[in-house]
C-alpha cells in the first residue's frame, strides 16, 4: 500500500500479462518460467537481488529480447515476437538503468524526440518547415512544455544533456518517456545513484505520473523503502525465478524473500 496521500487510482483490469516466460543466453538462464500480471493504473515493483533477471524481464516486455518459451499478452493481444518500435506504438515506454539519452541533443530536443511517433507531417512539408510541419512542431511543443513544467526542468531546456548532472539527466529521460503518452511505463532503477533529496523528488514524480496521467507503472528498484512506499503490488525474482508476488506487506513477510535477501530487507 502506498504510504503517501492523494486520490487513489482505481485498480482495474489486467493490462499486461507475462505467462510462463523463459529466456536464456547460450547456457545462461536469465528468466525461468515466470508468470505475473500488471493491472491497469497500478504501480508494480519488480525486485530481487542482483542478477535476478529483472532488467531482462523489462527487455522482454519491451521487445528487445524474445523469450524462448512463454508469451506476453498486452491489452488482450498475444505478442509472439514484438519489435521495440511496435511496443512503442502499442503504448509502452521505458527508461534505462544507464541513462540512454541522446547525448548530442538538448533536453528539449530529447523530449521532442519522444513525440516522434505522434508526428506525421510528410517529407515535403519538412523540407519547407512551413504549413503542416510547423503547426505540428508548435502543437507538440505545447505538450512537451507541459511535461517540462511538470518535471520542473525549465532552466535546462536548451542545455546539451551530456553536460547535465546525473539526477537531471534521469529526469529528462523520464520526460522523454512521458512524451510518448504511454499506457505502460517501465522504469529501470529510476532512483539509482541518487541522494535522499533526489529520491524524494523522483518518488513524487512517479506518484504524480500515476495519479495525474493515470499511467500504469512497472519499476525495478533496489531501495526497499521506495518500493514499499510507492508500489501497489510487488513481484520478487531471484536467479530468474519468481519467489513472491503480492502487496508490499505480504512480500515483506514472505520467508523466501527474506532468505533471498539474507536480512537486507528494510
Amino acid at each position: 500500500m502506498r504510504a503517501t496521500g492523494g486520490p487513489a487510482v482505481a485498480v482495474g483490469d489486467v493490462l499486461l500479462s507475462v505467462e510462463n516466460v523463459s529466456l536464456s543466453f547460450g547456457g545462461v538462464k536469465a528468466v525461468s518460467d515466470v508468470s505475473f500480471d500488471i493491472r491497469k493504473g497500478e504501480i508494480r515493483a519488480i525486485i530481487g537481488p542482483n542478477g535476478a533477471g529483472k532488467t531482462s524481464m523489462l527487455n522482454i516486455i519491451n521487445g528487445f529480447y524474445h523469450p524462448q518459451k512463454g508469451r506476453i499478452i498486452f491489452k488482450g493481444e498475444t505478442r509472439a515476437r514484438m519489435r521495440p518500435h511496435d511496443a512503442a506504438y502499442g503504448g509502452i515506454a521505458r527508461t534505462f538503468q544507464n541513462v540512454a539519452l541522446f547525448r548530442g541533443m538538448t533536453a528539449l530536443d530529447n523530449i521532442m524526440a519522444g513525440r516522434t511517433l505522434k508526428m506525421h507531417s510528410n517529407f515535403f512539408w519538412q523540407l519547407l518547415r512551413y504549413g503542416p510541419a510547423m503547426r505540428e512542431e508548435v502543437d507538440h511543443r505545447h505538450r512537451v512544455e507541459e511535461i517540462i513544467d511538470f518535471l520542473k526542468i525549465q532552466e535546462i531546456r536548451r542545455v546539451q544533456v551530456g553536460r547535465l548532472p546525473y539526477g537531471l539527466q534521469k529526469r529528462v529521460e523520464l520526460g522523454r518517456a512521458l512524451a510518448m503518452e504511454p499506457e505502460l511505463l517501465l522504469l529501470d532503477e529510476p532512483m539509482a545513484g541518487m541522494n535522499l533529496e533526489e529520491k524524494e523528488d523522483m518518488s513524487r514524480f512517479v506518484l504524480d505520473v500515476n495519479d495525474y496521467y493515470g499511467t500504469t507503472i512497472a519499476l525495478i528498484e533496489h531501495d526497499m523503502g521506495v518500493v514499499m512506499d510507492l508500489s501497489d503490488r510487488v513481484v520478487v525474482l531471484d536467479h530468474g525465478i519468481k519467489i513472491a508476488d503480492g502487496t508490499p506487506d505480504e512480500v515483506k513477510q514472505s520467508e523466501a524473500v527474506v532468505d533471498a535477501y539474507l536480512g537486507v530487507a528494510h
Binding site: 532488467t55 527487455n59 528487445f64
Partner: protein, 318 residues
Amino acid sequence: MDILYRIFLDPFVQMGTAPDLFVQTLWEGMVGGVLYALIALGFVLIFKASGVFNFAQGIMVVFAALTLVGLYNAGMPAFLALGLTIAVMFALAFAVERIVLRPLINQPGIILFMATFGLTYFLIGFGEFVFGGDPKVMITEQLYLPKGTVTYKALGGIISLQKLDIAAAIIASIMVAGLAVFFSKTRIGRALRAVADSHEAALSVGISLEQIWVIVWFAAGLVALVTGIMWGARSDVSFALDVIALKALPVLILGGLTSIPGAIVGGLIIGVGEKLWEFYWGPLVGGGTDAWFAFVIALVFLLFRPQGLFGERIIERV
C-alpha cells in the same frame, strides 16, 4: 540461354581444358593473397593488442619500403639500410602512439579510425616530400632475394613460377608461424593476448600496457617492412601501394579483425578469388573487376557473418 552458358558453364570448361593456365592463375592469386594477408596481419596485431584499427598500417608498408630504398640509394650498404629502416619504423610507431593514439584513448572507435585516416594522409605527404614521388626500384639483388623463374612442364602445358614469389610465400609462412608460436607459447605472447581481452584485467595482474604496445607496434613495423620489401619487389615502390592497402580491409572482414589465421585464410581467399574471377568471368563484363570484387565479397560477409570466419561474435547488450 547463351548468357547462362557463358556465366555458369564456360569458365569451368576453360578451367578444365587448360589446367596449366588454371594452376598458373591459382598460383598468382595465392601470391597476391599472401601479400594481402601480410598487410592484414599488421592490422590484426595492432587491433588485437590495443583495440585500435590503424588504417595507417598500409602507408607504413610503403614508408618502410621507401625508407629502405632511400637509404640504400643514399649510399648505405643493403643490410645496414635494413637495420636502420627497422629502427625508423620503430621510432615511427612510437611517435604515432604518443602523438595520435594516446590523446584519443577514451574516444569512440570511429573517431580513432578517422584519426588514422588523417595520419595516413600526413604520412603520404611526408613520404613524398622526403623521398620524392617517382616510383623506385626495390633492392632485391642486394638483399639476396632470388630472381628469375622456375618452369614446369605439367598438366599439358607450362607453368612458370617466379622464384621471388616462392620466396615471398616461404618468408610469409615463416613469419606467420613465428608469430603464432610467439603468441601461444611465450610469456610476452600470453601477455599480449591478455591485453587484447581486457586492458583493466591485464593491468591488475601487473602487465605493463605501454611495454606491450611498444612490442606490438614493433612487430607490426617488422611485418610492414617485410611486406614492403615483398610488394616492392614485385612492382615498383610508389604510393599506389596505399590503394592496395585498402584491399586489406575486405581481408580483415573475411578473416575476422582479431584472428591471425583469419588474416591468412582471408588473404588467400580474396587473392585467389579475385584473380580467378577476373580471369574467367572478367572478360564477360569488360575486365577490371579486381577493383571491386574483394569489396563485394566483404559486403556479402558483412551481411551474413560480420565477425568473419574466425573472429569473435559481437553481442550488444542493453
